[in-house]
Structure formats: C-alpha cells, structure tokens
Amino acid sequence: MSILDYDFMVRALLAAVFTGLAAPAVGTYLVQRRLALMGDGIGHVAVTGVALGLLTGTSPTITAVLVATVGAVVIEVIRERGRTSGDVALALMFYGGIAGGVMLIGLAGQTTANLHAYLFGSILAISDTDVWVTLALATVVVVVAIGLAPQLFAVAQDQEFAQVAGLRVSVYNIMVAVMAAVTVTVAMRTVGLLLVSALMVVPVATSQQLTRGFRTTLLLAMGLGTAASIGGVVTSFYLPVAPGATIVLIALGGFLAAWPVGLIMRRRQRLSTPFVPWAGQAEHTVVPEEHAHEHGDDCGHTAVEHGDHIDYVHDGHRHAPHGSHYDEH
C-alpha cells in the first residue's frame, strides 16, 4: 500500500509542502534584517493566542493568528522606535507570551499538556479545514514574498535608501512582521510553535552557504524547506519519530552538510581577492632566492590579481614576475 493511500498522510504532506515553501520565504527577509529570532518571539506570543482559544472555546488557530499578528507588530514598532533595543523587545515578548499562555490555560481549567500539540506540532492529526487554511495562508505569504521581492529586499537591505527611493518603509516593515506572524501560526500545526523558527531560519542559513545572490538564496531556501518538510513527514510514516522534530533535524542535517562546502568556497574566494594596487611608486625589491620553477597557472602557488599583473603567494610573501626575476610585493 502506498503512503498516499492514507488520507491523513496526503493532508500532512500538503501542509508540509506549503509550510516548507512559506516559512523560509519569510525567514529570508528576517535573516536579511538580522532578526533571525523574530520567529521565535512570535511563536512564544502565539502560545498566549492558543491558550486564549482554548479558554474561550474558539479555534486556537484563529486566536493564535490574531495574537501573533499583534505581537509581531508590537515587536516591529518597538524595534523601529527604540532603534537599538530590537533584541530586548524580542526577549520581553518571549517571556510575556509563554507566561500569558500558561496562565490562561490554567484559567481555562486545562493542563499545559493540552498545549503539547501546538508546541511540538501534530501534522499527522491535521483536519481538512486546517489543511485548507494552511494552503490559503501559505499561498498568500509566498506570493507576497516573491511578488514584492524587489521592494522588500530594498527595505531590508538599506532602510534610508529605500525611503529616499519613495518606498513606504514602515508599511513594508509591518508587512513582513504580519507575514511572519501568519507563517508562525501556519507552521504551528506542522513543526510546532517552539520549532517554527527553525523552519524559517535553518534553510536560509543552509542556502546562503552556497549562494552569492539574494534571489538564489530565497529560492534555494524555499526548496530546502520543502524537502526537509516532506522528508520529515515521510520518515515519521515509516519510523516511530515525531514529524515536527524530524523536519527540523533534517533541515539541520542539510546545514551541517552545506557548511563545510561554504567554508571552503569562502576561503578560496578570500585567497583570490585582488590585492589593492598602491597608487605611489613602489620600491623595487628583487627576490633574492633562486627559483626552482617558474610561477604560472599550475605552479601550485595561489595566484592573486594585483593591479595590472599577478602576484604569487609564496610562504607568506608575494612574488611578482618582473622580466627575468621575481619582485617582492
């Protein structure tokens, strides 16, 4: 029997694919603004939202979206007004969110065990309605994140430049905050509130090990997020493991695999960065030692551009060919 013959698996995979696409899309903009932990802050605030739903008997998903959105906007406003205290704003949200959630659960006469499904995800138990909500919200997030990419990129990259280019900076900032809040609540069913941020940040971190551009980072992160989500759900079908945790661990595994590659690429890049030519007249210093070989493409020494010629890195020196001998540069 195929895995797709089970309705609950089809629902789980659909939810996984869409969360896997949406979370890294928003995550890229958060990482770009060095707000990688914002997803965590919103996740904690959403705990209060879930508890509010359980207390009032309404859908915890809806109350979570509302409370998370308010929380995200508050974080954004504190960050914008307070300038340097973005991390403090996040910390305040972390604690307030969890404490509020635990207190409300108590008031509702329930134990915190009921929060479990929301804190750690329950994608295999997801209902038809929840799948449709997930699909719709995730689609909106992905369309905005890609459609408005030039604007969102400019605002996150350089706020003042964007403002002088005529963009409504605060509108875009709030938009990212709301998108993050929506994504957190959507991913709440997949990986759980405590692990949401991992799905927003880890694929981006993996992706930027291998890429040079923003666009490729964004798209690759979305691909990696989807792959990890599908992998986690499928794994949990065959093995007795929690899907949420498995998704995050697969994503982290991807990072561990990509990291050494990125390290090597960056090292190679740094070594071949051209030396800045000096404008003045350089002193002419001939290399005293005899050379057993001629420096060239395959001499084994790192060749680095230096103005109009090539320097060869040689035991911590730089040798530049000059007629019949080498100069010390």
Partner: protein, 267 residues
C-alpha cells in the same frame, strides 16, 4: 524644466530627541550646482543633507525639493542618495547587480519586472564606477571601497537629477576615490545637481563649485571653494572672515580640510 531651485531650505531647525542639532539654516541650491558640505564631526553636516531628504524631520522652517514642500514631494525618482555607510552587505548575501538594481525601484512600475531600459541603466551605472565585470559577484567579496562604489552605482542607476552623498569616500582606497570622482564628473556633465558631505575631497576637489561649511549646527560659510594650496598667499585672511574668529569657538578649528592647518601663523 521649472525654474524652482532644486533644494530650498528656509529657516530650518532640527532637533533629535529634543536636542537641537541644526538651527537657522537657509540654503538654496540651484540646478547644476556641485556643493560640498564640510565641517567637523558633530557639526551637523550629515544631519543637514538628511534633512533635505526628509530622513530627519524639521521642528521649524521649510524644506522644498524641486519647488515642492517635502511633505507633498513624490518625484523621488529625481533624487539619488548614497547613505553614510561602509558596507553594502546585510544578513543574506546579495550580488552587486541585485543591490544596484534596487536603484531602479523609484522608476519601475509596481509589480513589473525589469525592462530593457532598467538593465541598461544598471549596466551603465556599474560601468561608471568601474565594476562592470563584478555584477554577478557577491557584495561581501568586495573591498570596502568597492562596496562604497556599489552604493554609488545604486544611486546612479536611478538616473537622478539631484544626487546626495553622505561621506561617500570616507575610508575608501585611492583607486575607488578616483573611480568615484570620474562617475561624479559624468553626472556633472549631464547637468545634475550634486550635494556632497565630505571630510576630505581628494580627487573630487576640481569638481566642487561651492562649499558650505557647517559649525555647531549652523552654516558658518557658504561660497566658492576655500583655500587650496595653489591659492595666492595674500588671499588668506580676507577670504572668509567668519571662519577666522579663532579659538574663542569651543569647537576645534577644523573648519574645512581645504584650509591650511596653521591659519593663525599666516596672518
């Protein structure tokens, strides 16, 4: 083109968090002028240009761009800005092309992809700062001076009529400074208006047509470029008496980097 001045600041005062930074600023810059704003650290020169662009609100007075009060100004495509910043990198890598392409945003219709004219402008801007071959490279692999050139290319790509630069050459290697002066020369040739905050002018000096010296939040001098090394000796001391009040002022005498260091001795 209308005859309105490009930048008009009338009796403007600026306070940041209640602390007065600029006061009594009156400044008119007309089309085609190349203005250098000089002054010591903390003299308000950076705040002055940021006020012109509406990045800092005024507490009194009025700022107009191209004859329109800032509040109602919408033609941002006519303005190019190079912020005071030593790095073009953020938390996620971006290629040189992507950063420079952001300069076209003010000219692109909403949700429309780049058109041929946009691509041409981006390529031209990269060429103007001598980075044509680096378009696909990541910004983080460039030197500080090259990153600064990327930011200048970004502003150039918008083909602005008014070009505002906040310390574009601070800490930039000589090669980049030269590339940058060449790009500015290109703009001057096109008849653009340029406002430039600087500590030292270096290769840009020949382009400057007017100097505004800021001191303690006020305009201390506004006129032709002051005292270069080639200026005849006898001009000294008469040229800008306002600057020569001497040590009574509590700010260091760094009135302008173009001034000779030991003014007092020449009197």
């Amino acid at each position: 083109m209308s005859d309105a001045p490009v930048v008009a600041v009338r009796d403007a005062a600026v306070a940041l968090d209640g602390r007065p930074i600029l006061r009594g600023i009156d400044l008119t810059i007309t089309q085609g002028e190349v203005v250098a704003v000089l002054g010591a650290n903390g003299s308000g020169k950076s705040t002055l240009v940021r006020t012109m662009l509406g990045l800092v609100p005024t507490v009194r007075g009025e700022v107009m761009l191209f004859g329109t009060p800032l509040r109602r100004f919408r033609q941002w495509r006519r303005v190019g800005f190079v912020p005071q910043r030593s790095s073009a990198t953020a938390g996620v890598p971006a290629t040189v092309w992507e950063v420079v392409a952001a300069g076209r945003l003010s000219r692109r219709p909403f949700l429309r992809p780049l058109r041929r004219a946009d691509r041409t402008a981006i390529n031209d801007a990269l060429g103007a700062v001598g980075l044509a071959g680096r378009a696909k490279d990541g910004c983080s692999t460039l030197s500080g001076g090259q990153q600064q050139r990327v930011l200048i290319a970004r502003a150039l790509a918008g083909e602005p009529d008014l070009f505002v630069l906040d310390e574009p050459t601070a800490g930039v290697d000589l090669q980049s400074q030269q590339a940058f002066a060449d790009a500015l020369g290109l703009l001057v040739g096109r008849g653009a208006t340029i406002v430039l905050v600087a500590h030292e002018l270096g290769p840009m000096a020949p382009l400057i047509g007017r100097t505004v010296v800021m001191r303690d939040g006020r305009v201390a001098y506004d006129g032709p470029p002051i005292a270069t090394e080639h200026e005849p000796e006898h001009h000294h001391g008469f040229h800008h008496p306002d600057l020569q009040r001497g040590p009574a002022d509590h700010l260091p005498v760094v009135a302008s980097p173009l001034d000779r260091p030991s003014r007092e001795e020449h009197r």
